[in-house]
């Protein structure tokens, strides 16, 4: 019996250690499920400025905690998602956006796929037109004579 009790205590301690570790990123309670959803998507789409490739909802860096707190406060203040993102970009730069905005520095990122599709379309159109022109053109008398000669040569051999 004592052994089972000891084992139970051991298991409970292990479970508690787990919850303590998870405590590095705080849990926030929301009454409104829409708010909660917005909080989740905002903190998932903002990048921690000091860690490489971690969203602030996934990082225990102090600055991420401050940013989550600010997101929460601004949501409670009734600010729009756009305002909250702008607020962060104003302070920490475009780096914090996982979804880069379309601007001078990112034109290649956004423009290249569209540009390549456009260039490919033009190329295909040009090739198709060239082929259509080529097949529509009549053979000249000289070409016809050469073609006949070639065909006949093939037959006689």
């Amino acid at each position: 019996m004592a052994v089972i009790r000891l084992a139970l205590v051991g298991i409970m301690l292990m479970l508690m250690a787990g919850t303590l570790q998870a405590g590095a990123i705080e849990v926030r309670e929301f009454d409104d499920p829409v708010m909660e959803q917005r909080y989740r998507s905002l903190t998932a789409s903002l990048r921690c400025p000091t860690c490489e490739n971690q969203a602030i909802n996934d990082s225990d860096a102090p600055v991420s905690g401050d940013m989550r707190e600010r997101v929460y406060q601004m949501l409670m203040d009734g600010r729009a998602d756009m305002e909250i993102r702008d607020h962060m970009v104003d302070r920490f730069g475009n780096y914090v956006l996982y979804n880069p905005r379309l601007e001078g520095r990112t034109f290649l990122l956004w423009g290249l796929p569209a540009g390549l599709v456009l260039a490919g379309g033009i190329l295909v159109a040009l090739v198709v037109r060239a082929r259509r022109n080529a097949s529509a053109r009549e053979l000249s008398a000289e070409e016809r004579a050469r073609l006949d000669a070639l065909i006949n040569r093939g037959r006689t051999e």
Binding site: P49, T50, E52, A61, P62, V63, D66, R70, V89, D90, R91, F92, G93, N94, Y95, L112
Partner: protein, 176 residues
């Protein structure tokens, strides 16, 4: 012949793009400009570390002098390592203002006692409120504020003696 050369165009384009993107691989993502570059130092109204009664605001930094604003904390080992360089800068007559970042008053004052105080005054920022406005993501960070109170240069992390020579002094001279 020209048609043949035209066929090389996609290859040339591809190589050019590759070269451009390849350069990006060697960039350090932490060497990025502060979002506040060329913007006014954010407004604040806070007390100083030295005197809880003394309030300071933005006019502290727009007084016709180039100022280096250094964000430090007692908990930050890199801040201790850069103190000799900051004392050297102050000894050269450069105006220094500190931001005591996420410290208690006792710890902040103890730090200055132990490692020297190159700062004319220290803004007391226990909750990191002003540091957040500055987009500080780790201490130490240093901002150069020009005579009109506009941020002109930003250094993230520890300032070495080499950084003083190569970056900080030339920038201070540039804006003086």
């Amino acid at each position: 012949m020209t048609r043949r050369l035209l066929l090389l165009l996609p290859l040339i384009g591809f190589l050019g793009l590759s070269l451009f993107l390849y350069q990006g691989l060697s960039l350090n993502p932490f060497h990025r400009d502060s979002a506040l570059m060329a913007r006014e130092f954010p407004a604040f109204d806070m007390v100083t570390l030295e005197d809880p009664e003394r309030r300071v605001d933005r006019s502290l930094l727009a007084n016709g002098e180039v100022t280096l604003v250094n964000v430090w904390g007692e908990w930050c080992p890199e801040c201790k390592r850069e103190m000799p360089q900051l004392l050297d800068l102050a000894a050269r007559g450069i105006r220094m203002v500190g931001i005591s970042y996420k410290d208690t008053r006792e710890k902040g004052l103890g730090f200055l006692q132990d490692f020297g105080n190159p700062f004319e005054v220290n803004i007391f920022d226990p909750d990191g409120e002003l540091a957040f406005e500055l987009g500080v993501y780790g201490a130490p960070e240093t901002f150069l504020v020009d005579r009109e109170g506009i941020i002109r240069y930003h250094h993230t992390g520890y300032i070495s003696a080499g950084d003083v020579r190569e970056h900080i002094l030339p920038e201070v001279q540039k804006w003086q």
